[in-house]
């Protein structure tokens, strides 16, 4: 093991441990939690629900990870979801073919992301401020598109993105999994991962090293916008309607939380897409667990907060080398003195 500072397994331990614990608690609350059966051509069960409902958060978290790794944050993803969902639904209702509507919706997400990117990279606005603009106006734009009402559609092609299944696996899960795989390959098989981490740790020094950090930031925010658009299409397709007021509401916070739980620092730098996805699954497993538990809804937020505090404390303990200290201090000492 070359990296002796924090071994990979120890780094992932708090997240994997939390996930296992939450799944176990869900099992206690509802013994049928792990049951999966095949029904009407798709897998059916609570675990499938966790992944299916978690898919939009996973997709958002993928884009958000890139943004946060670059030492930014994108508050507008929820609003961008509303915009893209609204556009896809409205165009479908207006009679455009589904592929056209979907591509247009992804396109508008890209535009939103590029807008954020231009503000951050070229106008040097602080990301939190730059994306706040679209967070507020985006929902307004979505409302303009839907004219304030929920645009309901019955086009099977669009609905497929929300409740369809291929080989029994719900489409949202497939989209999230493919996006995750493609993105991981993209950042780790090209230099993008290193360069994103580099501008996240020190943008000035990266520019001095000849890295076009402005263009890279633009691409990162554009990508985040595309992810938000995908999530927006899935959410609209899931309920067969574009709800401009509520689609993606507060989901930007879940996405940020997923990234943080996944261990990417809000100060940028090292990131892990897999861990962010696990963070998203943790959040959704928690949500599903609360639903299954039968606690009165007044406790939802308190339960969620408690679990998050525990996870983040475990993670902080781990990043301070706590696990490594407990497990391998002796061994580490031995090898280093040779």
């Amino acid at each position: 093991m070359k990296n002796m500072f924090i071994p990979a397994a120890a780094r992932a331990a708090p997240q994997l441990g939390s996930l296992a614990l939450i799944l176990f608690l869900n099992y206690l609350a509802f013994p049928g939690f792990f049951e999966i059966r095949f029904q009407d051509g798709r897998l059916y069960g609570s675990l499938v629900d966790v992944l299916n409902r978690g898919a939009p958060i996973i997709i958002l978290a993928i884009g958000m990870t890139a943004v946060i790794a670059s030492r930014g944050v994108d508050l507008s993803v929820g609003a961008v979801m509303a915009v893209s969902g609204a556009l896809a639904a409205t165009m479908t209702v207006a009679g455009y073919p589904v592929p056209v509507a979907v591509i247009a919706a992804i396109g508008v997400g890209l535009l939103c992301g590029l807008w954020n990117g231009v503000l951050v990279a070229y106008f040097d606005l602080q990301p939190i401020v730059a994306t706040l603009i679209l967070m507020v106006t985006g929902r307004g734009i979505a409302q303009l598109i839907t004219e304030g009402s929920i645009v309901t559609f019955n086009e099977p092609g669009l609905i497929f993105f929300g409740s369809g299944a291929i080989l029994g696996i719900p489409v949202p899960i497939l989209i999230a999994a493919c996006l995750l795989a493609v993105t991981i390959v993209l950042v780790r098989r090209t230099a993008l991962g290193l360069l994103i981490e580099s501008i996240g740790v020190n943008r000035s020094a990266s520019s001095y090293a000849g890295l076009n950090s402005k263009l890279l930031l633009l691409v990162i925010y554009g990508f985040c916008g595309v992810c938000a658009a995908l999530a927006g299409i899935i959410i609209a397709a899931d309920i067969r309607g574009a709800d401009a007021n509520n689609a993606g509401l507060w989901l930007e916070l879940d996405a940020i939380l997923a990234v943080v739980i996944g261990g990417t620092s809000l100060f940028g730098g090292r990131f892990s897409l897999i861990m962010s996805a696990i963070g998203a699954i943790i959040i959704q497993a928690m949500n599903t667990g609360i639903l299954l538990s039968g606690f009165p809804p007044e406790y939802n937020l308190i339960l969620k907060a408690l679990v998050i505090i525990v996870i983040l404390l475990a993670q902080s303990f781990s990043s301070l080398g706590g696990w490594a200290f407990l497990k391998g201090e002796f061994r580490a000492k031995g090898t280093r003195q040779q």
């Binding site: 990296n3 230099a191 020094a205 000849g210 580490a332 280093r336």
Partner: protein, 505 residues
């Protein structure tokens, strides 16, 4: 003044980090009214010792005693209440708050639960007046120079603690005049009976202001003696454990100038940054650039490298007109820049040594043309060996290295791109004596390999040692060039010091 009792003493202090002894049985003591230099190469244990004294780290072994009584310094706050104040190299102040706020932050005088600004500002003026500092205490600290900020930081530390003052490289970013102001303050505090620990890399300053010297090497005590009894050469020997020989390349100066200077800048300038200048550099040449802080040295480097775009003039390379508007343009032309501010513009602290070395080459190759990890590792290993970068592991975050080794990593980053022209802005600043000599040796080797080098430095002796030609700057203007036998310390000094209009021919 003779034989005053020790205010603060440590005996047999030891401190280990995972598998590595940072301090091993170190003794150190300081008397009231004494300025005590603490010297050592980077990584010798100075910072660890300071952190033990100020309660940041708890020692594994040894005793700390204050006025002869053993104490246990729990944390920095406790250290302050014991009278031990510290001012770090990077000033730990808040530039966007007022001078008075900075002096009293965390302990502002209050009235009815609100900060009493009038009282706070009056007391701030009183505190500063003790040092003949008459500042507008209500205005933002950032309005004042780094030197003044440093003085404010010291005033704050003395006001809060008042017995022992630890100054960690306070002069690193100050010019000559500012250093004088700082020394005046130190002498004043010494007269008041404070014990002052002074950490620096500048040996001249040790002899100028310090009464006693303690040298650490590899976590152990290398020696301790009154300054007056320790000749400079002995001190250097004590620090390095070997004799230092700075090779001068006098012969290079007498080589015939290259027939053709491939890099040529004509009338390049940028308004409000640097006046238009001409500069020609040929392969195998070292151009030294001398001038005081703020004379336009770094501005010149930024312009040549495209960090700032020139608004005047033109650049020619191999007889072809080129445009350098961004660092990417400069890198594509085979330029490299080791920036002055290593921490904020140089290293990517959290990334590994390997990644830091690969970065410029990777940025140049493009986003999608990844340098395979195997090649990155091979490259990093090669440079770690070639430049003697001291580290246990190339996967270590670069921020954990000492300043000199970080500088070598940045140098490696550019050498990996196989450049034709390297700009080194203050390559030896904040670096210990040993690494200093190594960097200079490297400069000479690079030059011999045919690289064109522009080296900016405040160490005029160094510039004299390695330059073919020397450009002197003042007030954001290139005053002129010295070459051949003209290159002497006194000529350069004179040129910097003369008033505008009487530039020697």
């Amino acid at each position: 003044m003779t034989d005053k009792a020790n205010v603060l003493a440590v005996e047999g202090i030891g401190k280990s980090f995972v598998g590595f002894k940072a301090l091993d049985g170190v003794d150190f003591s300081i008397r009231a009214g004494e300025v005590h230099a603490l010297l050592g190469e980077n990584g010798a244990g100075k910072s660890t010792l300071i952190k033990v004294l100020t309660g940041v780290h708890q020692p594994d072994a040894g005793v700390i005693s204050l006025d002869g009584q053993p104490v246990h310094v729990r944390d920095t706050h406790h250290a302050q209440s014991l009278g031990i104040g510290t001012v770090y190299q990077e000033v730990n102040l808040l530039p966007n708050m007022s001078v008075a706020d900075n002096l009293f932050i965390g302990r502002q005088p209050t009235r009815y639960g609100f900060i009493d600004r009038r009282l706070m500002e009056r007391r701030a003026r009183e505190v500063l007046a003790q040092y003949d500092l008459h500042l507008d205490v209500a205005s933002d600290l950032s309005r004042y120079s780094v030197a003044i900020q440093q003085l404010v930081a010291i005033a704050r530390a003395v006001d809060m603690s008042g017995r022992i003052l630890i100054l960690d490289e306070p002069t690193a970013s100050l010019d000559r005049h500012e250093v004088e102001i700082l020394f005046a303050m130190i002498r004043r505090l010494k007269a008041r009976g404070l014990g002052i620990v002074f950490i620096t890399h500048f040996l001249d300053q040790v002899y100028e202001v310090c009464d006693h010297v303690t040298v650490l090497r590899n976590g152990k005590l290398a020696g301790s003696a009154p300054t007056s009894e320790l000749p400079k050469l002995d001190l250097v020997k004590m620090m390095l454990g070997r004799t230092l020989a700075v090779a001068t390349h006098g012969d290079r100066r007498h080589r015939p100038p290259p027939e053709e200077r491939q890099l040529s800048f004509k009338g390049v300038g940028r308004s409000r940054s640097i006046a238009p200048f001409d500069l020609d550099i040929g392969e195998g040449e070292v151009i030294g650039m001398a001038g005081l802080l703020g004379s336009g040295r770094t501005e010149t480097a930024k312009l040549l490298f495209g960090i700032d775009a020139a608004d005047k003039g033109e650049a020619w390379i191999d007889g072809r007109a080129v445009r350098i508007r961004t660092p990417q343009d400069a890198v594509a032309l085979g330029f490299g820049l080791c920036p002055e501010d290593r921490k904020s513009d140089g290293i990517i602290g959290d990334l590994s040594i390997r990644e830091n070395i690969a970065l410029a080459l990777q940025a140049h190759r493009g986003w999608f043309n990844r340098l395979p990890k195997r090649e990155q590792t091979a490259m990093a290993d090669r440079f770690v060996k070639a430049l003697d970068i001291r580290t246990t592991d190339i996967e270590k975050p670069v921020k954990l290295l000492s300043g000199g080794n970080q500088q070598k990593v940045i140098l490696a980053r550019w050498l990996a791109t196989n450049p034709r022209f390297l700009i080194l802005d203050e390559p030896t600043r904040g670096i210990d004596v040993g690494a200093h000599a190594e960097i200079i040796t490297l400069i000479n080797e690079l030059c011999d390999k045919g690289l064109a080098l522009l080296v900016i430095s405040s160490e005029i002796d160094e510039i004299v040692a390695y330059s073919n030609r020397v450009v002197v700057l003042r007030d954001r203007t290139h005053l002129g060039e010295l070459s051949g036998d003209e290159i002497t310390t006194s000529n350069i000094m004179q040129m910097i010091a003369t008033e505008t209009g009487e530039v020697p021919a």
